[in-house]
Subunit: 529 residues, 2 copies
Amino acid sequence: MTKERLYLFDTTLRDGAQTTGVEFSFEDKIAIAGLLDGLGLDYIEGGYPGANVVDTALFSEKRTTNAQFVAFGMTRRAGRSVENDPGIADLVNCSADAVCYVSKAWDHQVKLALGISTKENLKSLAESVAAAVSKGKEAFVDCEHFFDGYKANRAYALDCVRTALGAGARWVVLCDTNGGTMPSEIEEIVADVLSVAPGDRLGIHAHDDTGQAVANSLAAVRAGVRQIQGTLNGLGERCGNANLVTLIPTLVLKPVFAEKFETGITPERLQTLTHVSRAFDEFLNRAPNRQAPYVGAAAFATKAGIHASAIAKDPSTYEHVAPESVGNERAIMVSQQAGKSNLLTALKRFGIAMDKTDPLLDKLLRQVKEREARGYSYDGAEASFYLLTRKLLGTLPSFFDVTSYRTAIERRHNARGDLVTVCEAVVKIDVDGEMLMSVAEGNGPVNALDLAMRKDLGKYSARIDDLELVDYKVRILDGGTGAVTRVLIESRDASGERWFTVGVSPNIVDASFEALYESFTYKLMKMDS
Amino acid sequence: MTKERLYLFDTTLRDGAQTTGVEFSFEDKIAIAGLLDGLGLDYIEGGYPGANVVDTALFSEKRTTNAQFVAFGMTRRAGRSVENDPGIADLVNCSADAVCYVSKAWDHQVKLALGISTKENLKSLAESVAAAVSKGKEAFVDCEHFFDGYKANRAYALDCVRTALGAGARWVVLCDTNGGTMPSEIEEIVADVLSVAPGDRLGIHAHDDTGQAVANSLAAVRAGVRQIQGTLNGLGERCGNANLVTLIPTLVLKPVFAEKFETGITPERLQTLTHVSRAFDEFLNRAPNRQAPYVGAAAFATKAGIHASAIAKDPSTYEHVAPESVGNERAIMVSQQAGKSNLLTALKRFGIAMDKTDPLLDKLLRQVKEREARGYSYDGAEASFYLLTRKLLGTLPSFFDVTSYRTAIERRHNARGDLVTVCEAVVKIDVDGEMLMSVAEGNGPVNALDLAMRKDLGKYSARIDDLELVDYKVRILDGGTGAVTRVLIESRDASGERWFTVGVSPNIVDASFEALYESFTYKLMKMDS
């Protein structure tokens, strides 16, 4: 059976740029366009030439190799001809392969927001599309407020679709602009739109205001639409756009779609999806969502003991797709609820083989549970778990020992009378019997300790050059300042590996020190092996 | 038309506890059960009595007032009678109103994971249900792997449903355990299940592995199911469970559901939803998801421009529901207007009346925005906001000034050779020109500072006797140890009032000191008035 082609359209750089707190520079946009282009998408919308200097400069060249590069903009203004509208000129003369016009499809909005007649709106739409087509560009029409417009005035909404296609638009995109439409409504309305347009000329643009942008996009495909618009990691205004990172594996891996449709995403490209999603978050300088479908760090993580033993027998027990297919991996957590099979799986990841009946395994399980009762959590701190195991096995090298440390934080008036806070740390470190002492100032006690420890680790100093602390999390385990504090530190080095270590103490500085010390030890150990 | 009743079942404390990194204490569970109970849910599942000490203690009493309190557990073990199974005894004798048994509905899993015959599995199910019913409890059966099981062996999956109902179960819950089922498959399969069970005896339990847990739950309701299981903020293993915070407003506000169904969520309770969702995140010490449907800070936020002006003309332009209906608010990013009315509302709560046109209001808004840009957050720290306002108004008394402080944390070997951490704080305090100096030891720097400040506040000492710190939260605003730290301190006194203060600094001790100092000041001020 020949499969039907489904087209994927990314609007991260245009609609995604509407996200609160997100702003893309010229260089950002070029880099992200490259990331998207490698994924195998069909269309990449870069922005709105003429609206700002970044986007105008962006469209001076085509920025994609595989995908069609799309420019977004408005239809011609009322009272102007397309020839005399500078907005239209920017769009049709730029280096984009295609132009996507936004056009209101809700009669109420046309009158309220644009203040023009519904007829004038259709005329503007038709002439604008024709202007792009005459310049050899593919034309898209984003029918804004399509579903709400359809409910209010079906005839006008369908007129918009008809007009766009009649003027030569390759695609008419049905937009759920407010994001409030239900999947069942999408299916019904799309089925009706098919009476005026073939499905392979229709697209869907969904928003996540009821948490159903993905479901709405898939409902539209089931109903007949053949193009999907979305963004990386669901970026977008309010609750975001349809998340392409979630949609893509569903379309490619789930039989109900995979048996019927094909996309530009090859199995090899699909395996880069987890990387692309996380790299994009790095780009935005935000922590990736651990619970993200398919690509989240927890997407294939199991905590419960009973589940873990079932997974060991047959992964399909708790995995709906193979984690490797999207470039992710299975993670079986070590936690209070852990049983032996969790531990064995975790050990295997570190290349440690142990028999189920080994008394050391019982001892390890007891230690883990005892430490978790004191506030440790190995769920997110696998490097600390690894160190604990190596210690128990007697294979943890002793690199260095911090025999004592002292930190002081002082807030006082300086010579100029300004109130300043200064912070200093002193560490005494024993490296193979050699006693080293260092002092450093930092902007906080943990930073000062980190800097002091790095200052002189004797023969190990060179080995930790590329060690970098990336994140630091604090959790107070019971209320009040007298409670136990758990600190989780995330580190990375030049190899790109990231690892997590944990420390627990009633004293926040001491808990931080423990996690810091373990991170250093882990780094030295991995350089050793 | 009479509406059909839809039942809402919360499993935050049971399935939600499977989330990586989440662990609930006994006190946590009681507090969260209270939060859920106030929302108007029908069933609250508290945990698994007998599985661990926390849950066993929890079920020694009923912990809900409105909702049915549900205990989760396994059906009886193979080779035992229900009378001789301690697990069953824990369930049927505890203080829960209802028992929810998990039972595998996929023949392959029964054999693989349980190693028993499919017949024995049904027998165990029937006897376990009967044991709960005979003790006067409502019985639920969670059919684990129901949808995958149905696809593999329809007859056996349906047998499980039939057996559970036959034994007297009030509800049979169809679980999409791996979370990989599509909404269209849910609809088809539920329609078939209706051939052996009425819809008002069926529930749906969905997971978000394809980003469609909400859509799957709603698809099941459309197909005939009358109970929905989910969690607060979609907590849960892997990608999480169906998010009740998203489902509830859809069911209550969207005509396709609201016209047909009723739930226990009144309009007044719905207005507390944003608060409940954010309070729960605070509880977990994690930042609320700004893009969360309905309740996110960005859910009704619009970046300035064409959209903002259209919203000013008619909110329905870009809002699918009214933000107030879920207790959220519209945020138009650069509009001073939105900010001012927020401030006026907050001021009114403290009994401060200010005119909209008062230039002090502009000044306050600028200060709040400037401080929030530096990392402060007054959302959860109303006492600090009150102090800021009083300072601006020139009505903040100067009680005492900490002219300097010094804390030292030292880890070293003591005389007996044990490694110990000691912590000391020295404060110099100016009370009306009198200089007081105190020193104290604490189990951490913040505790030591707190104790030193309390030691001698001169004439104010007696006034702070009943001041108590109840909680202390730390959030790192950017990654790494060099980042900015925000500390939130919760205090209370003998009057029962609780207040929150905030401090921000690159130095965690300094941020804590600021929040501590503000808490003392707030306490002194309220004693003054």
